[in-house]
Subunit: 361 residues, 2 copies
């Protein structure tokens, strides 16, 4: 049980951090009455991070400073199914261009955060059997990126980084929050005790394949039957709308119909909300969040999806767990992912262990 | 974004910690090649904590040193329903006696950890509408205890402290663990990312009132219908055994029948395991633990309860979430609570904020 404190080296570490430009001395506002103290503050403009949010068909890359401010950003058309080499080649080239357009040099880069549309073992940065990503299973994403940028590379699934991004932009954000991505698939990112909860294999928050009553007997693309996604994912909603004679194929079609006031689409979305609510109900008992944020493309249907969710969560959950619970729509649009990826990189770069290793290497 | 580091005061803080006897200088084993560093280590024998695990009818109190070693312990008969004044009077008197029998003075006490058999707002230490604790709702437990001992008092519900205690004694413990207490009620304590997850109102892990299929229509003591507890808690198991003509009233009766090989009791316990498994299934998808530990008095039925749980969890959960998941029986008997209460107090006493405030006050 060593504290890790090392008296004579702390002073020199702070000196080295000042030398690196990561911290700067500031005037101490409050006197503690003892010896005058030389307080130091993080200098957010000193260094930058790279961020990438890779989806099924598009990728958004950005450069951000250590305060999380985006300095340059670009979205490229990119099929994730083309495999990791093509995708990460696009990623490193775009980050190189963005560094240049932000007027920053590659030597100022301290870390890169990457979001991928599938399960990822966060500790190693390797995808774990991602269903829509052929060629990515077990691929060493950090090693590939480090061929271009010799900095730490953090990788996580897209819903987790969206949760981090959403939390950063909300004033009602909380240490206990569930972020739901509702689109083709349904997933969640969980903030518990102020930290992103990844679980043992990076699979925490994978709520799309929990069994719900209305899905009984229905086959899911995961190979199981009765999953939430099989009844409340966008393809299932579109199919329910079509059986009532209204044309709908994509998530965008569903959103357009709801926004146009089509009652068939509104009814189907509200029912999907009830199904999601059935699972959220259990999440509320298990996690006890103070905020549930509904994001993903389906959240653009607005209050109709939320109404279905609220209907079930507030009618069934325990009073103690719901007395201060709010269920709200995401405030970030497509931005949540890239903002979250930059925050993941910044938090890592500023962590005590990382600062220490930067100073001793 | 200040680091909080204060160069000139760090040295003097460490000096003060050494003066308090909490840390002591140690020989540095590994040279970093730079200036010689004076490493310091926690001195676990310097100070002690008080611990109390209050149940429905009994209370266990203990004194432990900062390494978690129990120095003195005593269990008293105590009806929690007699109200907070009587219970906390017993607690402070017993801790006073235990300090004396351990040969330690009250001035060596740095914190007290208390577990209660109901929901607790951990931040304030006040119980929140605990069903079996008349007179305790909103009662300021820390303030009452501080009339005798002027130290920080941490309060949590019994399942949370049992999770902390179980984690401390297991070699297969993990940063992502679910501890289940199965007895009259059913609850859980969740360790996520290495930290106890309490949620927004201290209600995280409250799985006893999640709806399960077999409980449909059955009234629960919480006022809702269809809850897990209504079908898999000890009273429901005893009732199921009685309907088959076998006498069983208490949890102890159930355990005795199973241990004697009664097939009716074994069948009822295994079915309760399946019901608990239905809820754990969802917990596995949401939390992605690597270990689920089954404790509480019903766990003494051994493999029969676990077999029912495993049957459902492994057949339904996602492969990624179950590939390294183990489901095991608790290793701590009645000890988990008091060990966990002492760990809660030690972790608080040794936290950076607490050490800092001890030094500046």
């Amino acid at each position: 049980m060593e504290t890790g404190l090392s008296r004579s080296t702390i002073g020199s570490r702070v000196d080295a951090l000042i030398e690196l430009g990561i911290v700067q001395p500031v005037k101490d506002a409050v006197s503690t009455g003892g010896r005058p103290s030389a307080r130091v503050a993080i200098n957010p403009r000193a260094r930058v991070v790279g961020a990438a949010d890779l989806g099924a068909t598009h990728a958004t890359m950005a450069i951000a400073d250590l305060s999380g401010r985006i300095l340059a950003e670009k979205t490229e058309r990119l099929e994730i199914s083309r495999g990791p080499i093509a995708a990460l080649d696009c990623l490193t080239h775009t980050l190189t261009d963005l560094l240049e357009s932000a007027g920053r040099s590659p030597s100022e880069l301290v870390a890169i955060g990457v979001g991928l549309p599938g399960p990822v073992a966060h500790e190693t940065g390797k995808p774990s059997n991602p269903p829509i990503m052929p060629g990515w299973n077990g691929f060493d994403v950090p090693a590939e990126i480090r061929k271009t940028f010799q900095v730490p590379v953090l990788v996580d699934n897209d819903v987790n980084i969206m949760a981090l991004g959403e939390r950063a932009v909300r004033t009602d954000a909380s240490d206990n929050m569930i972020f739901i991505k509702a689109a083709t698939g349904i997933g969640s990112g969980i903030i518990g005790g102020g930290k992103l909860q990844r679980g043992a294999q990076g699979a925490a928050g994978d709520i799309g394949h929990i069994a719900v009553s209305r899905a009984a007997g229905i086959a899911c693309r995961c190979g199981n039957i009765g999953c939430l996604e099989a009844i409340a994912g966008a393809p299932a909603i579109a199919s329910a709308i079509r059986t009532k004679g209204v044309e709908a194929d994509s998530t965008e079609d569903i959103v357009a119909l709801v926004q146009a006031g089509n009652l068939t689409a509104i009814g189907a979305v509200r029912q999907a909300g009830r199904d999601i609510g059935e699972v959220l109900n259990m999440c509320v008992s298990i996690i006890n969040p103070s905020v549930i944020v509904i994001g993903g493309l389906l959240a653009q249907t607005g209050e109709h999806l939320l109404a279905g969710i609220r209907e079930v969560v507030y009618s069934r959950s325990m009073p103690l767990a719901t007395q201060n619970l709010t269920i709200v729509q995401s405030k970030t649009g497509g931005e949540a992912g890239v903002v979250g990826a930059s925050i993941m990189a910044i938090e890592y770069a500023l962590s005590a262990e990382q600062l220490e290793s930067a100073l001793t290497s």
